[in-house]
Symmetry: D3
Subunit: 220 residues, 6 copies
């Protein structure tokens, strides 16, 4: 009998990011559990940095979800949760957004949380989304790395910069946990957590964990 599948959709077309997701999610790949498949949105932009990038992938995500008859759950792997509600409208199967799941998981770990964003310009969009989710009360701040997605994924100095920003969120803003506000930062999670001494949440890992629970319990 085939394993149920969780489809993790990277809405950008950067396959290095997708490979990073596959790597980051291996710890949830259990013999008796769901299959975790990561995919690109074929025509997505190279990175999702503007509101236009976000809104430009919502309907392609919907079409992908609607046309997929074999996945048991979906994860939209971009920290702006593009198309989350339109995808949910298009299927009865669960759809998780990594920003939502990341923040909710941080709330299960600490009194308060802060977010590391890649760029200053996305913070306003993230704040608007937090307000939409009604999850502002325990947020203490969001601070940018001011690096591109590409730099973040590959750059040498990324971890050092993340530690600096994480320390500011912890020490100046009072964060009890950190959410990494990007799908491509997973390999920095463990060293960042060690350096800061507080929980650090990779949002894709958080979302796929929730998806795995949903799929497993639905089937039993």
């Amino acid at each position: 009998m085939s394993r149920p599948r969780i489809l993790v959709i990277n809405p950008n077309s950067n396959s290095i990011v997708t490979k990073g997701l596959e790597e980051a999610l291996k710890p949830l790949d259990f013999a008796g559990g769901p299959e975790i498949v990561c995919t690109n949105l074929a025509d997505g932009p190279y990175g999702i940095e503007s509101q236009a990038d976000v809104d430009g992938v919502t309907m392609p995500l919907r079409w992908l979800v609607e046309s997929d008859n074999s996945s048991a759950a979906f994860v939209i792997a971009c920290y702006s949760d593009p198309g989350l509600h339109v995808c949910r409208e298009g299927t009865d199967r669960p759809v998780f957004g990594i920003a939502e799941s990341g923040v909710l998981t941080a709330l299960a770990r600490a009194e308060s949380f802060g977010v590391i964003a890649i760029a200053q310009r996305s913070i306003r969009r993230h704040m608007r989304y937090l307000r939409q989710m009604g999850l502002m009360e325990r947020m203490v701040g969001e601070r940018p790395l001011n690096m591109s997605v590409a730099e973040t994924a590959s750059g040498e100095g990324t971890l050092a910069r993340m530690i600096d920003i994480g320390r500011a969120l912890k020490d100046e803003d009072g964060a009890g946990a950190i959410v990494m506000g990007c799908a491509g930062m997973a390999r920095h999670r463990q060293p960042l957590e060690q350096a800061l001494g507080i929980p650090v949440i990779d949002p894709t890992q958080a979302a796929v964990t929730m998806a795995l629970g949903t799929v497993q319990f639905a089937a039993h």
Copy 2:
């Protein structure tokens, strides 16, 4: 090499409830994943129904957590999350409360949620706790079964009553998801979800799912 262990602590002394937890959590018992162990608090009350029941188990939970050197994560399996903060103070390992995890997981599934409580008297305590968590904005209501924990766990009419209450939460209060506000209702999750047509969250399953993710990613 031994598997990391998630210790699920039922703070009451009713071993039937603990057995039910074991049963409910089997879908997360993967060969390559953490071992999930359910246990009773030796001297807990038979059920946790009053504030005194809640506050009476907080320090015993702390002692249990502190004296346990071998678990990788803890889940407090009572919908009042007794001792959550005092246990977190006593260990660096993650501690999850099922009420918190249940509500957070519901927020990942729908715009709004409602809660099925066992008894009217616990609703005020739950509301105070939701306010403490800062998670009231998308809560639409909590309604009681008005049955004892024991009745709920074993009774014939429980599911029918849960469906009635769930329908009121969905149709009158506007809930988009339901949280079962008790550790002993897991076996009703699936039929209730089917009857209502909206996601139903068992809070212990939600918390152990989060614990599993945390343990798996910590180890890699």
Copy 3:
């Protein structure tokens, strides 16, 4: 010298609705003031009823706004404010959404407001949007007509049904003002206001009023 132009964009392709907008906005067409031009989105759906309808027009709206070099301000004339933020990102000129403007204008008229929606299914989307705007505190409720956009625009019984719903919002929910939650209800504004005895806001009129002020003061 040419008058500055306010472009009012009906994102659906129903030209009867666009004609209704033109009619509804005539009172703001002053000789010395801005020209108010109403247009359709060429390939918009016949009505905007689902999240897919909303998300399907966001990028076409952006393209229209970006390619327009001659308008001084834009109004998106659909009560879901599709594409509001992506259009604002694409131009330095002001862009107004009718839902946002309608609610803000209601807040200038009364202590509290209620909304008349066309369909039950859109209420959840509207509530999410109100939460995103941070404007829930004085909202007392939203109630549906449960009619189609087409029926609303043309139907005989529409006004009577609106009065019923408006009375429920006023007398049961405590609304001090009513926002008509649709771009196609303007011709009912005055008789509805007279029947209810409290301010009734047509959201397109509210948005174009704000746009007119912005354009006039920018030019001086």
Copy 4:
């Protein structure tokens, strides 16, 4: 046939401020539109700076509104909105407060707003009022010029000081729009907006714009 009249009431007795209002509102004086008349409260204080100044003009404003049978709408042109609710109680015609209208209009232009106050001492009163209006969620801060009303209206260095304060609100507090927290700052609106690069709202212009829309649509 006579034009409907919007009566803009400056509650202080400083006729230079009233003249400034007339000047500032000319762009809304359309041949086919309402007549906009600015007036002083005969016995008002020279400036409204204290709570006593505010509370001292509420009943005179009520009497003026009640005894006026010919205006179609009223605007109270003081950033503390003195007597707004008692005036609304005394007439069926719409009454606008410039603080309320200014803040609501800012919310239609940007994600967040900040306020430039004249004096430190009025900030606490403004905050209390924002809380009363339920409009705190998107407010990022209020900063004082620490100049008198008179200095602000006439002084040479006013604009430079406003730009400094506006930059602090934008860059340090994150304001996406600025509300000028005084009735006498209108002539600085345009240069301030140009210097800051974000929308700047003159509250009297905002309120009279809303009044104009209300009057025009009521008559049709």
Copy 5:
């Protein structure tokens, strides 16, 4: 040595209400404690029922407070707290409003509270004031007796009506405590509390209690 004085100001001119206040406050008249003096505002209206009644007494209250050099603290004994902030501005001595004190005292007694208002029309004003105080989170509702102040103070059926309304607030709205929303209901406090089985707060008693503490501790 003379006792410090707490001046309780009934802003209406109905001396029967003032007499009732004197009676209601006797339990706080200790030999070694402050003198509690109740007075009328000479030219106050017979009852404070409208916003005009409220705003009409604010400056007279300020003048009375300012011209009084011998009282150690002031209590404004009207459930709309007229002039509270303008009186505080006019003196360094503490000024208490009975609505504020009543609500704050209810919050010290129960998880949630409801208010019994005299008239429907004052509820909107009270809600606006609760929002201004930032004290809405634990308020469950306000319901009117729909009697005049005079009827309430003297009428036979008042207690029975209050019990009905109090039961609705407790049983339907979930109030854990009741605030009597008027200065003239004190004699019903005890029987109402007995009938309902939850704390009932007389707001004047609550405010004078706070004033007494402030005066006693200031003097030591």
Copy 6:
């Protein structure tokens, strides 16, 4: 006839703190009023500094309250309000927590308040509790002395340090009143208030004042 008794329970075993409470409460000891008795929890910790200290005294407090048949009201004199809800569950007589009463009393004195904490580590617990009480809206900040309870009660430099912290809360955070976040600071209240020029609230005095009012009015 015997006087009703208010039992003030210091949950730590430090009798110097208890003596300080007795001293601090003398101004409320009226001949005709309730007897105010201060007591220690026999087996309490020497100071309440951790969550374990808090949770360790909740049930002993409940037992003490339940076994006391002669007190008319109880005050729990520790700024974490340990056991407040479990004590309320165990008796029909009123139980006051000093943190709750202190904050509520501050809200009756000023627009906003700040808290002086003893240690940094307790601030997160206090914030969680403020959120639980729904009383965050007018809180501007909490700052630590970073001294032990013992040092605070006896140390020479305590007042000077409190003045520094109080000034930061007033001038940088905007506090209009200060709550002293500890049961053992009462003797510093008056000089601190004089130094800061804004109301300073001793929370035990605030709670016993409320208790006194409740007891006096219950008996009449």
